[in-house]
Symmetry: C2
Subunit: 366 residues, 2 copies
């Protein structure tokens, strides 16, 4: 029988469609040997080294080679291992988006625009910042291929940019996200993340803050701390973890293999997390993405960060997390009409499939 | 400069990305002559005439030939024109979905299931109904290809099924939707709509009811009546209309060419609409889809109905409408993360492009 499960963070009901459920292996895409790998450098790629003048000037650059070991965020692993990723003076490069969805405008904050509005409609100047995080000089190395210390640098750049942008009092939230492959919305092949800084709190975040706050008032603790404790106690849906982070397919996952990665200690944002969080997260995020890629044939996916508002001190009720949504099915009329999801994969089975090392037999269906 | 526009029905802010805006014609897909047309009958298609035993028994059948003109909903045009669509005793056929997302179960209503829930999570029996509306016996005639009287019959079947399902007091809402083409989620090629009857009100509908109710309490009238009046007064975003229905690209359209079709008189549901509403809607819906198909190369799209809850009498504050969302861009990390949209097409330009008859020059950019 089909089952309704409630997503505790958003309050929404997800239909787990047992009658049309598919076994985990049926979601697998192309095999590794069938996939084409682009070259390491592409002459006309605006994100490849040597083409820096094709983009606006960088707002942040990490250069692993320039930092002696032990003196900075990127220094710790400087010179070790990933020298292939160091080229032309940068390891990670953050630039303004050349075609921004939002930008800092010439009008004042919240300028009301009368464009074809009439009396009823409202239109405002779209104030904001849109940046691109170029993860590596190498055109052909995916996020999941990066060494841990390289992945850590990319993660650290999120925090550095959030801290820098939080100085602009007009900005309320920074949304960091990543689109992997064209089918998931990546219009440029060279591996990159994006961030958009907004003058308002996005509605999904507002919903999560509200529910987390209600739970905190009722129970005196953080909802995601409770949820994570329960997921760890049950264990079925955990994919992998270390002492600091847990990656799991949540109880009410809206889509097949959609996952959360959550810090095991309570932190409301990257900025208030314990120093070095990115080095602890890198093996879990990298490990999860590597399993996703190997077990499901490098599927397209979207990844994003949910964090507390800009400039918020440590908040006792909100708990930052990453969400990873592989694009394995088509979001269609039902989802657009209702704002809810039908998941054709059982979260326990999806987790079990990713959990077991390759080659071993998986048997989770009950 | 990018602009923020508020969707009055949902309250969400849409970013109209002027810096990355694309001209209407750049969204066009394949030309008519490049598209392959399947045959009228497909031997192993479960929805083709002669294969009725491949599906569960029908819950509703219209047979145009069986009804003499003037005696029933389907009789008016019986024998005229669309005889190609009449075959093997049915014109429209509604059947239970063989692989339902929800079904009427063996457990009692709202039975709590303890499946891997622990103390925190909640899981219920997924009570509901999932049906398929086979729109025509012809495998190769799209929704936009149907004659007006055939399209009217399909629309009428929505009302008939909603009325029948409303007798089940456990059901609260019926969501009717349509996925056009595989890219928009249609897993079976034969033209069909679907409906899912739910034991709860979906969150997007709840949000629309709330906002419409708030507006009604403040202003003493229906929000969508006000909105439609304003859109008609401004005129730029209207694509086509007759005395009963208006099709337009709304002020804060979330995605390129996403449209609403709204009855010009206030009705809260199909069931309370004036007799014959489907015959008035058919030319506007058919005309809109035909323009979409011709001007944009038959793009995939999703369509859905937003109506009042089951068994509600005429409601003064909610106004039923159809939404049509062509799949012309990829919904990616940003939209999943925030629950908001970036529209890379100006609603006025999209409407202007669809409004002008083919062959005439379009000039709307300001």
């Amino acid at each position: 029988m089909p089952v309704l499960r409630q997503d505790l963070l958003t309050g929404e009901w997800v239909i787990i469609a047992t009658e049309r459920a598919r076994r985990p292996e049926t979601f697998a895409g192309k095999k590794e040997e069938e996939r084409s790998i682009p070259p390491a450098r592409v002459a006309n790629c605006p994100f490849c080294p040597g083409n820096e003048d094709m983009t606006p000037p960088a707002v942040l650059v990490y250069d692993e080679r320039a930092t002696p070991p032990g003196t900075g965020v990127s220094g710790k692993h400087g010179g070790e291992g990933g020298t292939a990723a160091v080229a032309d003076g940068w390891t990670v490069r953050v630039i303004p988006n050349k075609f921004p969805a939002l930008e800092r405008g010439v009008h004042g904050e919240g300028a009301v625009l009368g464009d074809r509005c009439g009396d009823l409609f409202r239109s405002y100047q779209g104030y904001g910042v849109h940046e691109v995080i170029i993860e590596t000089p190498d055109h052909n190395r995916h996020f999941a291929d990066l060494e841990e210390h390289e992945l850590g640098l990319v993660l650290k750049s999120f925090e550095d940019r959030i801290v820098a942008l939080s100085r602009d009092q007009r900005l309320k939230y920074v949304q960091v996200f990543r689109n992997h492959q064209r089918e998931a919305g990546a219009s440029i092949e060279h591996p990159h993340c994006q961030l958009i800084a907004l003058p308002y709190i996005p509605p999904l975040l507002e919903k999560e803050y509200r529910r987390a706050h209600d739970y905190y008032l009722a129970e005196g603790r953080c909802l995601l701390c409770s949820l994570l404790e329960e997921e760890e106690r049950i264990g079925d849906r955990i994919v992998l973890q270390n002492d600091y982070f847990t990656a799991f397919i949540p109880f009410a996952a809206p889509l097949p293999f959609s996952a959360w990665i959550v810090p095991r200690e309570h932190y409301s944002s990257l900025e208030v997390s314990a120093e070095g969080w990115e080095k602890k997260l890198a093996p879990i995020l990298g490990g999860f993405l590597e399993r996703l890629s190997k077990k499901l044939g490098d599927p397209p996916y979207n990844m994003y960060l949910h964090s507390s508002p800009l400039r918020s001190e440590a908040m006792p009720y909100f708990h930052w997390h990453l969400e990873i949504i592989p694009k394995l099915t088509i979001v269609a009329g039902w989802e657009l009409a209702t704002g809810t999801y039908i998941n054709v994969s059982l979260p326990e089975e999806a987790a079990g499939y990713l959990k077991v090392p390759e080659g071993e037999k998986v048997e989770t269906r009950v």
